[in-house]
Symmetry: C2
Subunit: 510 residues, 2 copies
Amino acid sequence: MKRYFLLTLLSINVLTVFSQSTLVDKTRSFRQANEHQLLHEFMGLLSIPNVVYDTVGIQKTANYIVKMMKDRGIKTQKLDATTKGVPPAIYGEIIVPNATKTLVFYAHYDGQPVNPNQWAEGIKPFEAVFLDASLEKGGKIINVPKASESINPEWRIYGRSASDDKAGVFTILSAYQAMNKMGIKPSVNLKFFFEGEEEAGSTHLEEILAKHKDKLKADLWVICDGPVHQSGRKQVVFGVRGDVNMEVKVFASKRPLHSGHYGNWAPNPANLLVNLLTTMKDTKGKVLIKGFYDDVTPLSALEKQALANIPPPDEQMRNELGFVRAEGDGKSLAELISLPSLNINGIASANVGKMVANIIPTSATAALDLRLVLGNDAQRQVQKVIEHIKLQGYYVTTNESITDEERLKYPLIARVQAKDGYNAQRTKMDLPIAQLIIKAVQSTSKENIVLMPSSGGSLPLYLFDKHLSTPTITVPIANHDNNQHAENENIRIQNLWSGLETYVALMSIQ
Amino acid sequence: MKRYFLLTLLSINVLTVFSQSTLVDKTRSFRQANEHQLLHEFMGLLSIPNVVYDTVGIQKTANYIVKMMKDRGIKTQKLDATTKGVPPAIYGEIIVPNATKTLVFYAHYDGQPVNPNQWAEGIKPFEAVFLDASLEKGGKIINVPKASESINPEWRIYGRSASDDKAGVFTILSAYQAMNKMGIKPSVNLKFFFEGEEEAGSTHLEEILAKHKDKLKADLWVICDGPVHQSGRKQVVFGVRGDVNMEVKVFASKRPLHSGHYGNWAPNPANLLVNLLTTMKDTKGKVLIKGFYDDVTPLSALEKQALANIPPPDEQMRNELGFVRAEGDGKSLAELISLPSLNINGIASANVGKMVANIIPTSATAALDLRLVLGNDAQRQVQKVIEHIKLQGYYVTTNESITDEERLKYPLIARVQAKDGYNAQRTKMDLPIAQLIIKAVQSTSKENIVLMPSSGGSLPLYLFDKHLSTPTITVPIANHDNNQHAENENIRIQNLWSGLETYVALMSIQ
C-alpha cells in the first residue's frame, strides 16, 4: 500500500506532456522570434555590478529591474526592511480575475564578490561576453550576434550572476512577458519578489517578510535559483541546506620574521593552522568534530525513494571535473548532500608564487562554510567547531585584534568569527500544490524530471515557513557547470530558453 | 689544555678597545659632521626599486651605486656572468701600497619582492620615510630632517632594502669615504663586490666568481648582510645556513565548485594540502620527514663553546614578538638554527576575508623553504620532501600544468617545484684572519661582541670556498627587528652609525 502510494506520487503522467504541448510550442515560437531582444535586455542586466557589498551597484541593478517590470505593465514597489539602508526587495503583482491560487516567484539580484584577476583573459565580471562553448571545452569569445545572425543555443554568456541569479530574475520576467505577448492569461495570481541581499546571507530578509507579511500572502513560493540536474534534466527541489560561514585566524609573531634567523624557533601560524584544520576533517572528507553529524532529521520514506530515483551523476561528473577520488568514502553525491558539511572555502597566509618571501608569517586564515541539514541549528553547529578548536588547546576570541596581554598569556590563539547563517528547510513532497508543480515542469520535458528532496545549496527558505507559513519549492534553470560563486560564471543559452518554457508552465498550473 | 686553547681564542682583548679608540672617535666625529649628507645619499639609494625580478629597477640601482663609487674615486667595473642578461656584480678596488692582505667587502643591492598592500598606511616600499620609532612601538612618520635639525639615532628609515641589503652597500662605501676624508690609509687592499641577484638565490653568482676568479683573489671576504644580535650587541658570524625554496601545489576539480551542490563530495584541495603539510611537521616544529635530520656535520668544540656563550635572547624576543610558545620543544634559538628546517612561507587557496566565496577551490599552494646546515645537500633535502609526498599517496609532477590524462589516472596529484638552492658554509673560527676580524669589531664596542658559528640566515658562501678557496666572515650591522624580507622593512639609524665605525675598523685590521 505504502509502496503504491509512493509510486503514484512520484510517477510522471506522460499524457500531460501532450495536453500542454501547445503551450510549450507557443512559448518556443515566441522565443525564437524574440531571441535577440531577450538577450539584449539580459546583457544590459549583466553589465551592472551587483556584488552584494557594493551599495551603488545594487541600487542600479534594482532600478534596472524595476524598469523591466514597468515595461511589462507590472505594478512595482520596493519593499524595505525595518533596518535602514538595506538593499530592498523588489516586489510586483498581477492579480488574475477568478484565480484561486497565488504563487510568489522569487529570485535574487545581488551577486557573489569577484576577483577580476582570477577570471579568464578577456572576460570581465561585469562586461558580459558570448563564448562559443564553455571555457573547459575550449570556448572562445565571439561577437554579440547581430539581429541578422542566428544564435546557437550551445553558446554561453559569461559574467557574474549570469546564472546566479540574474538568470532567475530574467526568466521569471520573460515568462510573464511571453504570456502577455501570446495573449495567454496566467492560471494563478502572480507575485514577484526579487531579493537584493541573498549572497550576504539574506541578513534582512526576515525583517522584510515580517514587515510586508500581508502583501506576501500566497499558496507557494517558487524559487528560481541554482542549477538543473548534472544529467541536464530539469529538476524540482523541495528543500535546501542551511549555511553558516566562519573565519578562523591563527596568530603568531606580531611582525613577520626572517625564516632563516628565526626558523624554526618562532611559531609558524601556517603550520599551526594546517595542523588545526587537519584535526577537523580527514582526507576522506569525514568531519571529526564531536557531535557534528548529530541532530540530523532522517529522510522520510518518500524522500528516500526520490533519492534512489536520482540518476547517479558521479562518474560523468568526475570525468568532467577531472578527478578520480571523491570525498565521502564511496557514498553518492545525492547521499552526501543529505549530510551537514564543513568545507574550506579558502586559506591565506603571507604569499606564494612570485610574491613569496622567505619569512615566517604573522597569521594564517581559513574561511569555512558549514552546510546544514534539517535538524541542525546554525549557531549550535558553529559552537561545535569552536569547542573543537578549544579542545586543541586554543584560546578563542571573537575580537578583531589580539591584545599584547592575550599574546603573552595564551600559547595558542585563534580568532573565530561566525556569521548568523540560517537553517535548512524541506517542503513535503506530497502536498497537492507540490504535485501541481511537478506536473507543470514535467509537461515541458520529454525526459523524466529529477525530484530532489533537498538541494546541496542554501537559501534562507525556513523564513517563509516561519513568517508566512508558506511552503517553498525550487525550480532551477541554470546549467550545472555554471561556475556560480566563482570566477568565470556563465549560463548556457539553451538553459535560458528551456527555463522560459518551464516558467510559462508554472504560471499556468492547473 | 684544550679548554685553555678555547678560552684564548674566544676571549676578548679589552685593551684593544682603548688602543683603537682614536679611530672610533675620529669616525664618530666625521659622521656627526656629515649625517645629513650621508642619509641624503642613502635615501636616494632606497628610492630606486630593486626587486630582484625587476630588471629595469635593478639596472638603475646598479648605476646609482657605480656613481657612488666613482664619487669616492673607486675604480669601478660591472662583472658579468657567462649567461647574458643577468644582473651584474658591481666591482671596485683600492690597492694600498705595501699592504700584505686583501679583503673583499660584499653586499647585495637587489631586494625581496614587495606587496605594497601589506605595508603600513603611508609607507611605500620605494618611497623611504623617517619614523620616530618602530611601528611596533607606535612610531609615526616624520619629515625628512632639515640640515638645521639634529637627527635622533633612535629614528628609523622604512623602505624595501633599508636593511637588506642597501644598508650593507651604503655602510661599506661610507666607511671608505670616511677614511678618505679623514686621511687614514686602509691597512689592507680593498675590493668591493656588490651582487644583484642574491634574493633570487644568487643563481649566477657561481658563473661570475668563476669568470672573474683572478680579479677576486683575496685573503677573506667580509659579508655585510643580516642583523646584529637580538641583544643589540655587535656580532661576527662564521657561517650561514644553506637554503632551497619549494612550492607544493595540490590539484582537485578543474573548475571551482559551489560548496553547497558539491560539498562534501568533490575533493577539496585545501583540505588535502593541510593534511599533507601536517604529515610533514608536528605542532612543536619537529620535521617528520624521513631522514630530514640526517647528514648533519656536528659542531666543533670551539663552535659549541661559542654557542654556549651566546646570550639567550629567547625571553626578550618572545615578549617583543608577542608569543609565549616557541617551536623546538624548549631548545634555544641558537641551538635550533644549528639544525635544518622546513618552514611554510605562505599558503594560498581561493580567497578569504571580503573576497571569500562559498566554493570548493581548484588548487591549494604552499611555499616552503628548507634551511640547510653543514652536511646537508640542497637537492638531497628536496628529494626527501618529494619522497615523503609520494609516500602519502601522491603522484608528483614538476610540470607546470596537469593533463586530463593525469587527472583521471591519479587520485592525488601534487606539483612540486624546487629551486636550485645552495648549501651551508662555515669558516673555522681559529684562522688567524678570523682572529683579526674579531679584534677589529671588538675594538668598536664596549660590550662583548657575539661570536656566532653560523647565522640562521642564508647566503651562497660555499661558492667562495669552491671557486676562490677563500674564507668568508659575516659582519652584520642591521637591527634585529628590521622586518627584512617582509613588509615594513626598516633600519634604525644608530645601526648605520655603529656599522660605519665597525667597517672603518675592518678596513684598518692589524
